[in-house]
């Protein structure tokens, strides 16, 4: 609010404005990136874990026990278990010295965590990319399914194809399927303005029931050998992604991890170094201004959703070709990997590095709370840990929304962070 003199002030270029403009969301975001870029997400996660501990405490369990169990399940302790070991170089017989034991239980847990991280990076990018265009893509789950179905179908047929070509074919087709599926929501948003939150949610359910039909009993893609099992055919040996760490038949770590790291780089390049990324960000920042600037908002809405779908479909492909190899009724009904991607993107502030790091956090959380990792003394019913994991994810989301609260707690700088105040003149 201007409290200055009443005479109109003519601003000369170069002389500098006498008073700062009122703070806008953009300014707040900018300060965010400078001040709380790293600290605030960490605070968010820590707060969420603390609050999750209170939930555990409230139901009469020992939160420290529970979190210890979860930590051990993540396999992250592997990194500080140093020693003198040998490791075989991949795809050869040579052995070299290595500071870590690659065959321990912690190593196996870490492989699981990284398997999830690889997928979560991609489902997180699917949400983050749409977010940069101002779209909230809740449909990552459905797009992941679209990719997974196609990957399963191609991976389990076309026997006798060259292995490399087969894998590339399956992945590309799966990514395109994800793009097409997400593109439905994109087109609807671009042409008739249908809200993407509702359309993507509805598409999620459509994807689920299509899957239950395809792989259900009597469905067209149901397992040919086991007539009464509602599951798909197995992906053929030659269509599986190579495993570079661990047992290929016991969910070892496959090269999909590198593919998703490459996707992170691609995301960064597209967003920050291309015209497309510039337009997408412009539309996300202010669609009206972008329109005046000559950018086609509708085109970018569609492209942003389609590219988001590429990431999610890619996630489905590496999951199916990397370690799941088949998909069944219960997998379809219980999968939440697309939804966790939302938390990944939001905690990672929709940036490439952020998504990578928070995918690791959530990969560890989801793996650590998997039933088999929970010690019996922590929970009498191990399934509880999965629900605790959901609760913690929800709390992370809530606290992320409340960025002001976090900033306020982090540093009471006293500089107008308080609620309901604007910058004084």
């Amino acid at each position: 609010m201007s409290t200055g003199p009443d005479e109109p002030t003519v601003q000369q270029p170069g002389t500098g404005a006498s008073e700062p403009p009122p703070e806008r969301t953009a300014d707040r975001l900018a300060r965010w990136q400078r001040a709380g870029g790293l600290v605030a997400p960490i605070m968010t996660a820590v707060l969420a874990f603390l609050a999750g501990g209170i939930v555990v405490l409230a139901t009469g369990h020992n939160p420290i026990e529970v979190y210890k169990g979860i930590w051990n399940g993540t396999g992250l302790e592997w990194f500080y278990r140093l020693g003198s070991h040998e490791v075989g170089l991949p795809w050869s017989d040579a052995k070299v010295w290595f500071p870590w034991d690659t065959a321990s239980l912690a190593a196996e847990n870490l492989q699981q965590t990284l398997l999830l991280t690889a997928t979560l990076i991609l489902t997180g990018l699917a949400v983050a990319f749409a977010f940069r265009c101002g779209l909230f893509n809740i449909g990552g789950q459905g797009q992941y399914f679209a990719g997974a179905y196609v990957a399963i179908w191609i991976g389990s047929s076309f026997a006798g194809m060259n292995s490399f070509l087969h894998i590339v074919f399956a992945i590309v087709a799966a990514a395109l399927a994800g793009a097409a599926f997400a593109g439905i929501a994109g087109i609807l948003k671009a042409t008739v303005g249908a809200h993407e939150v509702i359309t993507t949610i509805m598409l999620n359910f459509v994807a689920i029931y299509v899957g239950l039909y395809l792989f259900g009993q009597g469905g067209p893609l149901q397992n040919e050998l086991q007539e009464f099992s509602p599951t798909s055919n197995e992906v053929l040996e030659e269509a599986r992604l190579p495993v570079f760490w661990g047992d290929p038949f016991l969910q070892g770590l496959h090269v999909g991890l590198f593919l998703s790291l490459a996707a992170l780089v691609a995301f960064w390049v597209i967003i920050n170094r291309t015209t497309l990324g510039y337009e997408v960000r412009a539309v996300g920042f202010n669609p009206e201004a972008a329109r005046y600037g000559g950018i086609s908002v509708a085109r970018n809405y569609f492209l942003a959703m389609a590219i988001a779908g590429v990431f999610a479909g890619f996630a489905g492909a590496i999951d199916m070709l990397g370690w799941r190899f088949s998909i069944g009724f219960s997998d379809i009904q219980s999968s939440t990997i697309g939804f966790v991607g939302i938390a990944v993107a939001l905690l990672g502030r929709n940036t490439a590095i952020g998504v990578g790091l928070s995918a690791l956090v959530f990969g560890a959380l989801v793996n650590g709370t998997a039933t088999r990792n929970i010690p019996p003394e922590a929970f009498d019913i191990p399934e509880q840990a999965g629900n605790l994991s959901l609760t913690i994810q929800a709390l992370v989301l809530l606290f992320i929304g409340a960025d002001i609260l976090i900033l306020y707690l982090w540093a009471k700088t006293g500089q107008r962070i308080g609620v309901g105040r604007r910058s004084p003149a």
Binding site: M1, V55, T59, F136, I138, L188, T191, V192, G193, A194, H195, V197, I198, T199, I201, M202, L203, N204, F205, V206, I208, Y209, V210, L212, Y213, G216, Q217, G218, G219, Q222, F339, I342, A343, L346, I381, E383, Q384, G386, N387, L388, S389, L390, T391, I392, Q393, A394, L395, L397, L398, I400, G401, A402, D403, I404, L405, V419, G420, R422
Partner: protein
């Protein structure tokens, strides 16, 4: 308006009106294509739905040519195609099964049952959005109501306590959403989505904690039915509405009541003012924060009530993620109804009908037909079509989604 003399203008019909009539005729023809193959008409030739639906598509295309809104025209075409598809499918089933599935009075009763949780949630959505707060968390509030309503009825021994617990649980979750989105000015969609996640975690956690792996007991006190003797004995309506659950009646009353309160009372005026122009409302002495808090908590309570009916009235049990997207369908109903209770109720009836149909249709083709699984996606597909097509340009309250900063 064009100055050139045109046959239409001479006849006194506005071109835009004509386009609109054509569009809605297309929608109607789509519905008719489906209706004609059902009992009591039961046309057996697949040509009937194809011809009638084809006329619907033509009407939709003509409407587009006459300059109807793109939504209406595409909606008419989509409805006609859906009508053809469903109609054609029905001609492939045998008459006996069709008669069994389409017992209209039973179908109406099932429609009302399925529409009731949606109606409560949609009313909640209207109240919240009219005050300027988007409530994506309806889904979670529905789920909270469903679980805690069941738990209350089970542990405290009466369906009445179930309603109390369910409503309080829905309101409590809404309070969290309200605090984060009103006071801390967070993105309302993110906060609402987090509320859904939270409800999923909390209800799942307590569900396992309390009921473990045995599932919910079957002898819980349920929502009673209101039996009205002189209606029940009527021929056709009797089985449909003569013996309805208490909460269905409550929902009907709430629809009328909320329409009246929203558009005919000072409270409603204030609520709408806060949602349309909070600054103006603030200037005349209405507390924006108080109204928004009240509206969001009320919306949570309403969604909670819908949840209670879902678990205690329809399924008589609870399962993890029982709500299965109904909160989002309710949100679509809010948009379809243009933020008005009557309109939203009509949408809920439509969605309720497709849900009832989706449950009964597979029966017409025998148990072993795998593709009948696809019928279960029908409510979601119809919602998608409605949101994308038929709605027309619906205009939300001006300040919806924007946090208010008090000066």
């Amino acid at each position: 308006m064009s100055v050139a003399p045109h046959a239409l203008e001479r006849s006194g019909i506005d071109r835009a009106d004509l386009a609109r009539y054509l569009g809605w005729t297309g929608v109607g023809l789509g519905a008719l294509a489906f209706f004609l193959v059902l009992p009591p008409v039961t046309a057996r030739s697949p040509i009937v739905p194809v011809v009638v639906g084809g006329l619907g598509i033509a009407a939709g295309a003509l409407a587009a040519q006459q300059g109807a809104g793109r939504r209406l025209a595409t909606g008419a075409i989509a409805a006609a195609i859906l009508g053809i598809a469903l109609g054609w499918l029905c001609t492939r089933s045998d008459v006996a099964s069709l008669d069994q599935v389409f017992v209209w009075s039973a179908l109406i009763a099932a429609t009302l049952r399925a529409a009731t949780p949606l109606t409560f949630a949609a009313l909640g959505g209207i109240v919240s959005e009219r005050s300027g707060v988007v409530n994506i968390g309806l889904e979670g509030m529905l789920l909270m109501g469903a679980f805690f309503g069941f738990l209350g009825a089970d542990k405290l021994g009466s369906w009445w306590w179930g309603i109390v617990c369910g409503v309080l649980a829905g309101a409590a979750l809404a309070l969290v959403h309200a605090f984060i989105s009103i006071h801390l000015r967070a993105d309302q969609i993110v906060s609402g989505f987090a509320a859904n996640f939270l409800a999923l975690g909390i209800t799942g956690y307590f569900f396992i904690e309390v009921y473990s792996d045995q599932g919910t007991p079957g002898d819980v006190s349920n929502i009673p039915s209101i039996s009205i003797p002189w209606i029940r004995d009527l021929g056709f309506i009797g089985p449909a509405i003569g013996d309805m659950h208490l909460l269905i009646w409550v929902a009907l009353v709430f629809v009328v009541l909320s329409q009246l309160v929203l558009f005919r009372t000072p409270i409603g005026l204030r609520l709408r003012a806060v949602g349309e122009h909070p600054k103006a409302a603030d200037t005349v002495g209405i507390s924006v924060y108080a109204v928004r808090y009240g509206a969001v908590v009320l919306s949570g309570a309403l969604a909670g009530l819908g949840g209670v009916y879902l678990s205690n009235g329809i399924t008589h049990s609870f399962n993890e993620n029982l709500s299965a997207g109904r909160g989002f369908i309710a949100l679509a109903a809010v948009i379809f109804g243009r933020w008005r209770p009557y309109g939203a109720f009509v949408a809920c009836l439509l969605f309720g009908f497709t849900e009832a149909l989706a449950l009964r249709l597979p029966g017409a083709y025998g148990e072993d037909a795998a593709w009948t699984t696809l019928f279960r996606a029908l409510p979601y597909v119809v919602t998608l079509i409605v949101v994308a097509g038929v709605v027309g340009r619906s205009i939300p309250p001006a300040a919806v989604g924007r946090p208010y900063v008090k000066q």
